[in-house]
């Protein structure tokens, strides 16, 4: 009964979102004032409906209602309750409902926190958002209905949630990512409405900025959690794989970063108006394109969703309708007035322009690398190639270098024209000292220096000094620092910390395959590794071979457990890596194959500074969140 109720509510939501997508436009453009509705009330109603629908899906999971096909495919009686709850968004259908929920949540936020006297403009933004929500609801109901029943004979037990998703980070990662993706709806709707109303650039940019920053914050957290999950769950010890799905999240992230920087300029100086509009459209478009690539099955990746060409077609249709529609409006809008504020090559505006060009070209290159295999296959009649990490790394490096150098000086620049560059020598000397200090620390810790890490570490020092020094120079009181500079300091310093992490981990990592039987030991780097024991364990829904491996480096002894689990419902095998984490290095063991009766292979890795990557990402997320929230207070 509850699933039918949830289904019904989803249909009511569909109808109301269609109303929301059409009525306000009739009121504004055809002047049927009698049809005027309260967009505040409607947005709250839509949100409540989708929440109820989502809750009924959660309920079906919690009570093990295997007559619901989606529950039967993704849950199991023996699944721990927490994962039953999280399994709700563990696959395609449920995650779409969550996505719609997130879009509705952003829309409510926009309606209630945007103070504009122009009611028609707000109604238009609301209406465009509702159209997208309607399209997603239609997609869900017609191709991916999570409430579909298996009748008349429901299975007695479900197939289980994919074992590698039975993990904390993975239960939190998708919602954060969906909130990030769906948040880009608001800047998109604002940009389209701004064209229709020929809004002043400064005005619409101020509406858009907080939402862009908040979506970017969620995207950052979502991507970082995904990377952390891949690191310990997939058992490879890597933190970024250039997998199509990772790229599908990375491209909108790059564009959202470009967008909020461009919006700062638009809001303060009234320039880059058209550019910001295009970026808003493309940030939204790439978030949909990512969804299309992942769920249509045209790209294969570690993130397998239930694949169905019909779904791909539907998403492509949504993408085509909204993006081509908005670009059509863009191409026929007469932007008329020439933007007035002039700026010189030394200005902050020009700095933002460079930042945007670099980010956008980087985003295009990554997108190109991701879909190139498809295009190649289409043109050569089925020959397949794959574009792997080497391509992306070669592309990324020069862009990251240029962006980092720019980031170091960016905060010193002034609007219009920077009068002096006298900060440069000091910035250079101080970065060099920080750089030497880091190198010294690395040498003390690891007895080794790698030239390959020097460029990245210098870059990180440059960004760090550029970020912290300017804050000191402004001579702000403590309170003013918190109020004015905290967000940017967090975000930019986070980037520096992330860069150090990437530089060190990519040069200083060590790995080795070893073969041991219990009681044996071997030497690796400065560690003595001892295979202590291996036991059979029984988990709630899996059996496991659990090995204890100890690391001893003279002063410290640590025991690390790594497991090979066989999940009972599906028979799938997963490797649980054992990780001893600290700020400076991770010891990482993953159990391999059972070669003979009691002889096992292990992969041992030492990953210095890898935590700094996620720490940096966390700071970036906090920084952009604070910056977004600050925008509300200002008004």
């Amino acid at each position: 009964m509850i699933p039918e109720f949830g289904h019904l509510i989803l249909i009511v939501h569909l109808v109301l979102s269609l109303l929301g997508g059409t009525l306000p436009l009739l009121v504004v453009y055809a002047n049927y004032r009698s049809l005027e509705i309260s967009i505040k009330k409607l947005s709250v109603t839509l949100f409540i409906l989708i929440t109820i629908s989502f809750l009924s899906l959660i309920y079906s999971f919690l009570v093990d209602d295997f007559s619901v096909a989606y529950v039967a495919q993704n849950s199991n009686i023996n699944l721990p309750v927490y994962y039953k709850f999280a399994a709700t968004w563990g696959a395609h259908e449920g995650s779409l409902v969550l996505w719609i929920l997130a879009m509705n949540a952003w829309l409510i936020g926009f309606i209630f926190f945007t103070h504009s006297k122009d009611k028609d403009f707000l109604a238009t933004v609301f209406s465009i958002s509702c159209q997208v929500i309607f399209a997603f609801s239609l997609f869900t109901l017609f191709t991916s209905n999570p409430f579909e029943r298996i009748l008349p004979i429901p299975p007695l037990n479900g197939a289980d949630l994919n074992p590698s998703l039975q993990d904390f980070a993975f239960t939190v990662h998708p919602p954060l990512l969906y909130f990030g993706y769906s948040g880009l709806l608001i800047p998109f709707a604002i940009a389209v409405s701004a064209m229709l109303f020929k809004k002043d650039t400064r005005e619409w940019a101020s509406y858009s900025r907080p939402w862009t920053l908040l979506s970017c914050s969620f995207l950052t957290l979502g991507i970082a959690l995904g990377s952390w999950w891949a690191y310990y769950e997939l058992g490879w010890g890597g933190w970024w794989f250039w997998d199509p799905v990772e790229n599908a999240a990375f491209v909108p992230w790059l564009l959202s970063v470009a967008l909020f920087h461009s919006l700062i300029t638009s809001q303060n100086r009234g320039v880059f108006g058209k550019w910001s509009i295009l970026l808003s459209i493309f940030a939204f478009a790439t978030s949909l394109l990512g969804t299309f690539l992942v769920r249509s099955g045209i790209l294969t990746s570690v993130h397998a969703f239930a694949l169905d060409p019909e779904r791909g077609l539907f998403i492509l249709a949504i993408l085509a309708f909204f993006v081509i529609g908005s670009l059509l409006i863009y191409s026929i809008t007469d932007f008329g007035h020439v933007e007035e504020n002039k700026y010189e090559l030394t200005s902050k505006e020009f700095g933002f322009l460079l930042n945007n060009l670099l980010l956008v070209v980087l985003a295009i290159s990554i997108l190109f690398g991701t879909i190139f295999p498809l295009i190649y296959e289409a043109f050569t009649g089925g020959k397949q190639i794959s574009v792997g990490a080497p391509y992306f790394e070669i592309i990324l490096f020069p862009f990251a270098l240029a962006l980092g150098l720019l980031q170091g000086v960016a905060l010193y620049l002034s609007w219009g024209k920077s009068s002096s560059f006298s900060f440069l020598p000091r910035l250079f000397i101080e970065s060099l000292s920080i750089f030497s200090l880091i190198i010294l620390i690395l040498f003390v810790l690891f007895d080794n220096l790698y030239l390959s890490s020097f460029a990245t570490i210098f870059l990180a020092s440059w960004i760090l000094v550029g970020t912290l020094q300017i804050t000191k120079k402004r001579n702000l009181s403590y309170w003013n620092f918190l109020r004015k500079r905290l967000a940017v300091t967090f975000a930019h310093a986070g980037m520096a910390i992330l860069t150090i992490g990437v530089g060190v981990v990519s040069s200083y990592s060590l790995e080795k395959e070893i073969i041991l039987s219990p009681g044996d030991s071997t030497e690796f780097s400065d560690q003595t590794i001892n295979f202590q024991s291996i036991d059979d364990l029984l988990g709630p829904n899996y059996t496991s071979k659990s090995a204890v491996v100890s690391f001893e480096d003279g002063s410290e002894l640590s025991n690390i457990v790594t497991e090979k689990r066989t999940y009972l419902p599906s028979g799938q095998i997963t490797t649980e890596a054992g990780i001893q984490a600290d700020l400076f290095k991770d010891l990482y063991v993953s159990i391999g194959d059972n070669l003979q009766s009691n002889i096992w292979s292990f992969k041992i890795q030492i990953k210095p500074f890898i935590r700094w990557i996620w720490l940096g990402a966390l700071l970036i997320a906090i920084g952009s969140f604070l910056a977004g929230v600050k925008q509300f207070k200002r008004r």
């Binding site: 004979i153 060409p309 791909g312 492509l316 085509a320 993006v323 081509i324 419902p569 028979g571």
Partner: protein, 173 residues
């Protein structure tokens, strides 16, 4: 000139959509046709019921036949199970099972409980034969004619309607 530049994003994006669209629409055909009229791929895998018995292509002797990809974790497979049983009971043709990435004990349990429509089931835990066949997922059904050629493929549940529309015509050849 300015107008042309303003229309540029539209043109670029629209072409991208067209490329993606064309790809999406051929994709099916390519997959469908890749195996049609070719002979069944070679394999060397154990039998589900008897681990020591190694099965190869030469064991598929009773032709024409269906090869049905199934697993206990696959809910839709249980939906089509009664129909497969019916094909067997009415001796319409032989069905060989390809047990795909499954738990052996559970699979045998299921056959014991719900009946076994298969002449035998190939036990493909790692999905090796499934890769050669280009299997999307379970369930999938292939029709092999009396000369051992794959003639038809169906992704999804097989029932009376699918049988009539896609498969029965090959039986009467």
């Amino acid at each position: 000139m300015k107008k042309i530049i303003d229309a540029l994003p539209l043109v670029v994006f629209a072409s991208l959509i067209i490329v993606l669209f064309s790809f999406l629409s051929d994709k099916d055909d390519q997959l469908e046709t890749a195996l049609i009229d070719s002979s069944f791929p070679d394999f060397n895998l154990g039998s589900l019921s008897d681990e020591s018995r190694l099965l190869t292509k030469q064991d598929i002797i009773k032709l024409p036949a269906l090869i049905n990809v199934w697993a206990t974790w696959c809910i839709a497979c249980r939906v089509e199970h009664p129909f497969l049983m019916k094909l067997k009971e009415e001796s319409i043709l032989t069905i060989y099972g390809l047990n795909y990435k499954d738990n052996k004990l559970k699979a045998l349990d299921l056959l014991e409980r719900d009946g076994n429509p298969f002449e035998f089931s190939i036990y493909d835990f790692e999905g090796r034969l499934a890769i050669d066949l280009g299997v999307y997922g379970a369930p999938e059904t292939f029709f092999i004619d009396k000369n051992g050629l794959i003639r038809e493929r169906h992704v999804g549940v097989i029932d009376e309607r699918v049988w009539e529309e896609k498969f029965s015509k090959y039986l009467n050849e």
